[in-house]
């Protein structure tokens, strides 16, 4: 422990009060009690600068361009604008490291990562950043390469930063959730690991994100935030254990069940039958999950599982928030060929966008600019009524290719019928 001159932090000190765990208390532990003098100093500088931000209500970090040898991204460079005042944390870069799908760790592996980070960095980290990376916060110019070399040797790689394929995210998944309809782990790794070059060497119009949720509850916010959202679903009938259902009705009473389950089905596809059995109009089930969220013991997804793929979700910049929209209503993901097909789709989408997207334009914004039909034709996907909420309502449309399009539709329907 170093005998250092501590920057006063009266405003930050206030954040040590209260019942929620305090990050400031953690900072002070590193500053005051860590055996490495380097860490004491770095965190002292960081706290000084943060206090300065609290006092002036302004941020003082600037970006830059650094990366590890062989890569072009994966590190968020931070240089202090007030490094003269707080020289100890003048360089304070973040390494973005890809976690496992579902963010699983053993304590042994975590300790190993903590040991490496303590050796080279500030001793501060986040599990995880908003994109989904492990954020190792606070390496200087001399140390980030060493830290990367060390953890890369035992299995960890950098994620994306900048205009590139970003680190993917997936939910807790089939490892611990009865709602899961797919192997989120395999999907996640097949997708993102097919694009490691595009992760590490930013050369796309802007960011491209894969997110995988095992069911329509979409715990990963995939529809709202991913350019390529994979949501597990099923296309046969959901499964009802009528004994467990009746036990639920007996326990809660019919009124509760009507108010909280039957009447809350968004497509009115549930009814209470004789003996309080659950009656399901399966052709109108839209997989809205509510009934199985309320009664997981009695209702579960069907057996013919697969995924729905949506594209183009993103946050505000530049044209406003966009939800993803349906691109593939249902896709089986069981055989190696199925997995090849989903990777090929992603390749088509990324290639088309790399070719046609404007600088700083996400996939969803490009679709907004060129129209979904041009996008579908560009990536070779046929139109499907599941892609729309309703057909167009303005008559300004040229329909001189109608007969041909209708014939294609009937041909596709015939092929589907023949295939089944």
């Amino acid at each position: 422990m170093a005998d250092i001159k501590k920057y006063p932090t009266p405003m930050l000190d206030v954040l040590e009060d209260g019942p929620w765990p305090s990050f400031i208390t953690g900072f002070k532990e590193l500053r005051d009690n860590h055996p490495d003098e380097r860490i004491n100093n770095v965190v002292n500088g960081l706290m000084g600068q943060l206090e300065h931000s609290y006092e002036t209500k302004m941020g003082y970090w600037k970006g830059g361009t650094i990366s590890v040898f062989g890569y072009g991204g994966g590190i968020i460079p931070r240089f202090s604008e007030v490094g003269d005042k707080f020289p100890e944390s003048r360089e304070f870069h973040t390494l973005r490291v890809q976690p496992t799908p579902g963010n699983y760790y053993t304590t042994d592996m975590m300790r190993k990562l903590a040991d490496s980070w303590e050796k080279w960095g500030s001793g501060l980290q986040t599990f995880h950043g908003q994109t989904g990376n492990i954020m190792f916060i606070g390496a200087d110019n001399d140390s980030f390469q060493h830290f990367f070399d060390e953890i890369n040797d035992y299995g960890w790689d950098l994620g994306g930063a900048g205009p590139c394929v970003r680190t993917a995210m997936s939910c807790v998944g089939a490892a611990r959730c009865e709602m899961s309809n797919c192997n989120e782990h395999a999907i996640h790794r097949h997708l993102v690991n097919s694009f490691t070059d595009d992760v590490h060497r930013p050369a796309l119009p802007y960011k491209f994100k894969f997110k995988v949720s095992g069911c329509p509850n979409d715990c990963q916010n995939a529809i709202e935030r991913a350019d390529f959202a994979v949501i597990g679903t099923w296309r046969d009938h959901k499964k009802v254990d009528q004994d467990a259902w009746k036990a639920f009705v007996a326990d809660k009473g019919v009124d509760y069940v009507m108010d909280n389950v039957i009447s809350r089905c968004v497509s009115s596809s549930l009814a209470l039958g004789e003996d309080n059995a659950l009656v399901c109009d399966e052709s109108n089930c839209v997989r809205s999950m509510h009934c199985m969220n309320v009664v997981p013991k009695a209702i579960s997804p069907g057996d013919d599982k697969g995924v729905t793929i949506l594209c183009g979700g993103k946050r505000t910049l530049k044209i406003g928030d966009l939800m993803g929209t349906v691109l593939v209503p249902f896709m089986k993901l069981e055989t190696p060929e199925d997995y090849e097909a989903i990777v090929e789709l992603a390749e088509e989408m990324i290639d088309f966008w790399a070719e046609n997207g404007l600088e700083h334009e996400r996939t969803g914004e490009m679709i907004e600019r060129i129209g979904l039909v041009n996008y579908l034709e560009g990536i070779g996907i046929d139109p499907d009524p599941n892609m729309i909420a309703q057909p167009r309502n303005v008559s300004y449309v040229r329909t001189d290719g109608w007969d041909e399009a209708a014939e294609e539709w009937f041909n596709r329907k015939r092929e589907e019928k023949a295939a089944s």
Binding site: G18, K62, Y104, L124, D157, H360
Partner: protein, 358 residues
């Protein structure tokens, strides 16, 4: 001088998670039957094989120091089975297949000051960004805002008091890495950028900056004989999109950078389709170190939601049922011209019917 020998990276990408997964979870992968919530923060999942795994969830400060991290790992080894994961909202989850370990783990976590909860119909931990601690464009802090609010919402995290789950997010700029939330506390700038014309020509790629503006308010200009950019301040919507590619266009301000509260963002397809959050309050001071004004509004909205919503209704569903006029009435928040959308597609946000509650 010889170049230093550089190590070639191993482009291994995303690592395999199965190697770090609890053996009971690995063994029952895809074979789970149902789960039960036994107490706030604790779930038991039962596999078709009859195997069980208990999850204990605890809130963290998200920006973890290695001491706290090792403390959590020691708890995972001493009281659980050495397998953990982190949720999307930075909660830690401990796993064990031994029921007898659950309560001692919960007690030990509480004893050490961690918050056990965040499951089912609670206020989950606030998902947040980097803020003044590490971002290059932040209008406010993130960790501090979250700490301040979670101190006030501690009992809502550790209990099941809400009609349904509540996800809160924060964002330190209008680009919004924080994402959609039932309640979102986001930066809202209220004045155009202040431009340092002596720097723009050298620092900024001017055509990119012009292209970045959502309302085409930026144009190239010569200012004081130097190539720079100027902003049509009547058109400017003060979003700050020009600031990241052109730092001399400073959007952050100690007075005019404020906070806004949005509600009703819901990413789930449960019951209704996913929804975007809606502006409900702006003009909230950015007031470190505790942001009391923003917290008071969040708490008021939560109180009204708790009072008025039916079981299972998320905040967006509650407001949809009672109507927006009633929302402003019960929360006491002012309704202003700024709530009326004028962005593209705005007509879809107007009431084109006589559906009015009196």
């Amino acid at each position: 001088m010889a170049k230093p020998e550089m190590r070639e990276p191993i482009e291994s990408g995303c690592p395999d998670g199965f190697q770090y997964m609890h053996p009971t979870m690995r063994r029952n992968f895809g074979l789970w039957d149902f789960h039960e919530d036994t107490q706030p923060g604790v779930m038991v999942h039962v596999a078709k094989s009859g195997d069980k795994v208990w999850t204990v969830k605890a809130g963290t400060q998200r920006i973890l120091d290695v001491f706290t991290l090792r403390d959590l790992l020691d708890l995972a080894d001493e009281f659980a089975d050495g397998y953990i994961r982190f949720t999307i909202r930075s909660n830690i989850e401990f796993y064990t297949d031994t029921e007898a370990k659950v309560q001692p783990l919960v007690d030990a976590l509480k004893e050490k000051g961690y918050a056990v909860g965040g499951t089912r119909n609670s206020v989950a931990s606030i998902s947040h960004t980097q803020g003044w601690l590490h971002c290059d464009i932040p209008g406010t802090d993130a960790s501090g805002v979250v700490k301040s609010m979670m101190d006030e919402l501690y009992d809502e995290f550790t209990n099941w008091n809400m009609p349904n789950r509540v996800h809160i997010t924060t964002s330190c700029c209008q680009i919004n890495c924080g994402g959609q939330g039932d309640i979102a506390i986001n930066v809202q700038h209220t004045k155009p950028p202040k431009i340092d014309h002596s720097l723009v020509g050298n620092v900024c790629e001017r055509p990119s900056v012009v292209a970045r503006c959502p309302v085409a308010a930026i144009r190239p200009a010569m200012v004081d004989g130097q190539p720079s950019l100027e902003v049509d301040e009547k058109k400017c919507i003060c979003c700050g999109a020009c600031y990241p590619p052109c730092p001399p266009m400073q959007i952050n301000d100690h007075e005019f950078t404020q906070l806004a509260v949005w509600i009703g963002g819901n990413h789930s397809n449960a019951r209704g389709k996913p929804t975007f959050q809606r502006l409900v309050a702006a003009g909230i001071p950015n007031n470190p170190p505790r942001w009391p004004e923003a917290t008071a509004i969040v708490k008021k909205i939560l109180d009204c939601y708790k009072e008025g919503a039916r079981d299972w209704e998320r905040i967006n569903e509650w407001v949809e049922r009672i109507g927006w006029p009633r929302f402003f009435e019960v929360t006491g928040l002012p309704f202003t011209k700024y709530h009326i959308d004028n962005w593209r597609g705005a007509r879809a946000n107007l009431n084109s019917s006589t559906h009015i509650r009196f």
